[in-house]
């Protein structure tokens, strides 16, 4: 019951964030969707980090390390440190600048202007929505499972059961909906900053407690050495990277996965909240450090779990069905109910700090890219636009929650496919920003090539998609990305360039605005 009380207390704190943001809101659509471009460097760093790091950063990384060894850090974390900051620098700042100049709120608005086509928005919109929805489902289902896991045995009549996952998912959806509905982007940014701090601090605390308990040495240092020493004795393969799990082509193709951040619609919206271009400096530099703080402890704990013994028995059975439960089980067995409850709050923080941005972003996209685009902005007052966005957010939360009740099989394996889809669209954003010769036909062909190749590989991988599926020895994302880029360049070169007016608007100096000194 202690765990449940801690989780409820944490959710109440989040609601307070939304209420507070609502009280100081200016009531305008720009404030609701973009926090009036008022977010400074620290808040931007925390909200961007919280948005890009899902629950996978805590529970998934531990589970994958248990399965594959510490190489998971090299595969997923150190690559993100380089590539995410690259996306912030090369795409984020530039889109922020264009967004401020031309009043954009969504990616689609930018592409419509840049490619001189209203119809292009109607092509891109459903693809973006289709890629975000599985991502949302992963968060909702994962959050429900976490609450169920940490509340096991709270009902005396059913000691093997916890709070049903559907109730946990409902609690998460309701709280996120409440603070996004009330606080809009400001509430989301504040809640993200709070949640990022919570999951980083609690992750480190859980690591220290587990190390002390597992190592059993005189001090922390001895415990750390003993915990890794045990793995060296019984599972040395978890401390290195070796084929067939790790191969060079596979490892290279994984570098493209974090590139997907350049096309995340929810990141685009967060970028636009920045007070100034200078606000990006801290996130660009500190993002890799934050990744280290979260991932290194989790990856070490996952490797330790392979060799940990508790009361003479393996702490985690080698054939555990759901590796995502490795961290919660270790915390539950090696610490008390308070830390267990706090860790659950930390995992939920990681889940909700991504969910909120995605809900808000989809509501904003439906409002701006569909309703206002079709009916005309002039038909709505500012207050009506805010209400429209709120109604859409409620509808999206309701639909995704109902979809989560169906428990679609293999949904957790879809995460990598969502990222692959976004990476397939990355040539589009880079070309639109940096290559004047990019044409509407080239962009359209590129999007269609990315979509067609994604669908082809997805069908080949079967359903639920096999995580072992490879195309040419690599993740399918490599082929999708390459195909999308080649098609964009070739078709653009074969078709008429954009008008002089458009080029003057988006490349005003003749060399683009990104000239550096």
């Amino acid at each position: 019951m202690t765990q449940l009380a801690i989780i409820i207390g944490y959710l109440v704190l989040l609601l307070a964030c939304g209420l507070l943001a609502n009280r100081i809101s200016r009531g305008t659509a720009r404030d609701y969707m973009l926090a009036s471009h008022s977010i400074g460097p620290v808040l931007l760093l925390l909200s961007l980090f919280g948005t890009t790091m899902t629950a996978f950063a805590l529970v998934g990384s531990t589970g994958k390390s248990f399965q594959l060894g510490v190489g998971v850090y090299a595969l997923m974390a150190s690559s993100s440190g380089i590539i995410h900051s690259l996306c912030f620098f090369l795409v984020g700042i530039k889109l922020w600048s264009l967004g401020r100049q031309h009043g954009y709120t969504t990616q689609t608005q930018y592409f419509r202007d840049r490619l001189e086509s209203r119809a292009f928005g109607f092509l891109l919109f459903p693809i973006l929505v289709a890629l975000v929805i599985p991502y949302l489902l992963i968060g909702i289902l994962g959050g429900g499972a976490v609450i169920e896991g940490v509340t096991l045995g709270i009902f005396p009549d059913t000691p093997d059961e916890g709070l049903p996952a559907w109730i946990g998912s409902l609690m998460i959806c309701s709280v996120v909906l409440a603070y996004v509905f009330l606080g809009g982007m400001r509430g989301t940014a504040w809640a993200n900053a709070f949640q990022t701090t919570v999951f980083m601090v609690l992750g480190v605390i859980a690591f220290l407690v587990i190390a002390r308990q597992l190592g059993g040495g005189q001090g922390l240092w001895d415990s750390l050495k003993a915990a890794t020493g045990a793995v060296q004795q019984s599972h040395p393969e978890k401390l290195v990277m070796a084929p067939p799990v790790f191969t060079s082509p596979y490892f290279l193709s994984f570098l493209l996965i974090p590139l997907s951040a350049a096309m995340f619609p929810h990141l685009f919206q967060h970028w636009l909240t920045a007070r100034s271009a200078a606000s990006f400096k801290l996130p660009i530099i500190a993002h890799p450090i934050f990744i280290t703080i979260v991932w290194v402890p989790c990856v070490l704990v996952g490797a330790w779990a392979t060799s940990a013994v508790f009361h003479g028995e393996p702490l985690i059975p080698a054939d555990i069905k759901n590796v995502n439960t490795v961290l919660p089980i270790m915390v539950a067995k090696l610490s008390g109910p308070i830390l267990s409850g706090l860790l659950a709050a930390g995992i939920l923080a990681a889940v909700m700090s991504s969910l909120d941005s995605q809900f808000l972003c989809l509501g904003t996209m439906f409002t701006n890219d569909i309703v206002l685009e079709i009916k005309g902005r002039e038909h709505y007052s500012d207050r009506q636009v805010v209400m429209l966005a709120r109604y859409f957010i409620v509808a999206i939360v309701a639909v995704t929650y109902l979809l989560s009740l169906l428990k679609p099989p293999g949904i957790f394996d879809l995460g990598l496919w969502c990222f692959s889809g976004f990476t397939g669209l990355v040539p589009l954003v880079f070309a639109a920003l940096y290559w004047k010769r990019t044409t509407l036909a080239g962009a359209t062909a590129s999007v269609l090539a990315a979509a067609a190749s994604w669908i082809y590989f997805f069908c080949q991988a079967g359903y639920p998609p096999s995580p072992k599926y490879r195309a040419f020895g690599m993740l399918p994302v490599a082929t999708i990305f390459l195909l999308s880029a080649i098609v964009l360049v070739v078709v653009s070169l074969l078709t008429r360039p954009p008008s002089k007016e458009t080029l003057a608007r988006f490349f005003p100096t003749g060399k683009g605005q990104q000239d550096s000194g």
């Binding site: 510490v70 990277m241 530099i285």
Partner: protein
Amino acid sequence: MKYVAWILICLLVVLHQCTSPWQSEKLYLGFIPGVLGYHLAITLATAGAWALVVKFAWPKNLESHPPEDGNP
């Protein structure tokens, strides 16, 4: 200096792909496996390289245009 900063970023991408530390049995500080230590160092070096890019290759003219009153 801006070219040095960008070359550093490219170098880190190349070093990230280097496979020689994959089989290292070394333990840094007595508890960090060799390959993890190597990639941990790359991540921290990345932060340093990005600090150089931010200092020496920061784009100009980003805020030279006043915001328009258009879409919300």
